[in-house]
Symmetry: C2
């Protein structure tokens, strides 16, 4: 391992976005006198009559949730994107805007209010993966939808307003910023090398074995070389696949196992229900082949040193570049020990 | 005013970065059941013996702060960037890194522990502006420093670990991501139009007068068309200036007045000491003319609806694009009424 990267401040390139992260390994010793987050380790009941996601309960718009048994999907009652919205274009000198339509859904992972993915076994998580595939397929067939963002906000500190295990799917007509960057970088590499950028990177990581947390037959869980968040991680399929529909049922189970292993390790790290935002980046659903795309799922957890001390992406990070203190390699060592 | 932009979801282009923000005006009605931030409206003493920024107190490294009377600057005791660090380059297949050296400073705005910029008058703030100019000049003359980021994190919710009024200056050898984007966009426009991108935009805004909060002879305070944060604002010099050294003393006073007016309005908005990260983007200090640059100061405040409910930039925002509910125009109306 290159020891300079563990000792001196440096920047690392995110090959998928083309952007840099500033790493300051020596700064991990900084004392913390700032804000502490609230920890909620209270055990939740399996059913909460005030929860609008629990089975049989009535949502704010009057609809009643079915008595679902595993996964339940519905259209977001407060969708940021709507399909019946007006379309228009504004080009007024240096003011440029255009309408954005789309469909936003909520996906409950389990009827059990007390659970999170970390408490579910691979077979249960596989059902969530199947639901993601089904929704993705449905949205991909819609000619007005060109990109589908699957994500989860977990924990109050990540803006999650309901602890019931759930995620979201926002789909829209154009590519969001982050996807656009990854689209460009992967296409550039594919054109020049006729191979997958992430696939080639994965081969290099597997050979080095310095940042791998876990692997099974079909998936690798690793901390990317350019990780921004203290315990950021990525799940990458070994086969080059443009989107999650390319997964066989067996691969879906192995993907579910990877999610299970990672979320369980996270919960052990600071002995708390580990907050994060996770998301799947995959090929646009624009009808093109998108052979340059290699889908992957990333986890961005905010905690830095304990269940109550998070990393703030503020001042310098907002105006300059993301910055981290502990290195990706240190984070991997800590997570590996918890498997 | 284009009413479609107030009624339907759309995206707006940030001409300075080339990136988009998703705007969902209809979504402001969403009820909030998530995390509430702690408000601290307790009056602080003018001197706190445990504060490492108060005059006469001893810092963690044993150094004693002088009995300063207005502004006091020192090198950060836990600097993310160091000038005596090793330099190196890593190019190992798809893993790319390079050392980053720099100088990080802390700048106390006042010896009075109880104050913030919102409590200081323009003459007092002008001294802060003079200190920024002095530090910028010093760092710009250093051949190893090619960019100087001046910023402030205000409030515990913005990761500020000490309420004593202070900001920071991180300077380094290469351009951070955000500055790099603005450098590229401004250079492109300047090459094509032989005029300042931000200057031309400002002229358009002044003519429309829909997003202007305040102006004096030399500065305009506005909510940019592409604002991300609910009450984001920008202070722009009317004259095209590459960096803050171009300001005359009189202009520095008008800049101070703009800061004063904006921060006072912010505090009134939710009747709380308004948290934010602010920062000055200006030309690189690489020895080039950088005639395409038009410096400006931006404020990114997290609060959305009250002193305790903030906007979370999570899931979709991290994996897709930033998203906002209330429009820039609505935010301006609310802020204007508080002047
Ligand atoms: O340097 P401070 O104030 O201790 O730290 C704060 O500002 C820094 C620069 O924006 C961030 O990197 C830290 O995460 C934040 O807590
Ligand atoms: O849709 P929710 O869970 O109510 O809201 C949460 O996730 C959204 C998508 O990431 C964000 O825009 C909101 O700021 C956040 O609070």
């Amino acid at each position: 391992m290159n020891t300079d990267l563990q000792d001196y401040s440096h920047k690392r390139l995110n090959i998928l976005t083309g952007e840099w992260v500033l790493v300051s390994p020596h700064r991990a010793k900084r004392p913390w006198q700032g804000q502490n987050e609230a920890v909620s380790n209270e055990k939740r009941p399996t059913y909460d009559e005030t929860c609008y996601l629990c089975a049989g309960n009535t949502r704010i718009n009057g609809e009643v949730n079915p008595n679902y048994e595993d996964v339940f999907v519905f259209t977001n009652d407060f969708a940021a994107l709507q399909s019946d919205s007006k379309t228009f274009l504004v080009e007024d000198g240096l003011m440029k805007a255009q309408s954005e339509t789309g469909i936003c859904k909520v996906i409950c992972f389990s009827p059990d209010h007390s659970k999170s993915l970390a408490h579910m076994n691979p077979n249960e998580i596989q059902k969530v993966v199947f639901a993601w595939q089904k929704e993705f397929k449905l949205l991909a067939e819609n000619p007005d939808i060109n990109y589908v963002q699957i994500f989860e906000n977990k924990g109050a500190v990540m803006g999650c307003s309901n602890p019931h295990p759930h995620g979201q799917i926002w789909s829209q007509s154009t590519l969001p910023n982050e996807v656009d960057k990854k689209n460009t970088q992967q296409a550039k590499y594919y054109k020049a090398n006729k191979s997958s950028l992430l696939g080639d990177y994965l081969a290099q990581e597997l050979e080095k074995n310095e940042r791998i947390i876990f692997q099974n037959n079909d998936f690798v869980v690793l901390v990317p070389f350019w990780a921004i968040w203290p315990f950021e991680a990525m799940i990458v399929p070994k086969a080059v696949q443009a989107n999650i529909l390319a997964m066989s049922d067996e691969q879906a189970l192995n993907f579910a196992e990877a999610i299970s292993v990672l979320t369980k390790a996270y919960d052990k790290l600071f002995n708390t229900s580990f907050p994060y935002s996770s998301g799947i980046h995959q090929a646009p659903t624009d009808g093109e082949a998108n052979g340059h795309w290699h889908w992957h799922m990333s986890f961005y957890p905010p905690l830095l040193r304990s269940a109550t001390v998070k990393k703030f992406m503020v001042g310098y990070e907002m105006f300059g570049s993301p910055q981290r203190d502990i290195t990706a390699e240190t984070a991997v060592k800590m997570l590996r020990e918890l498997l």
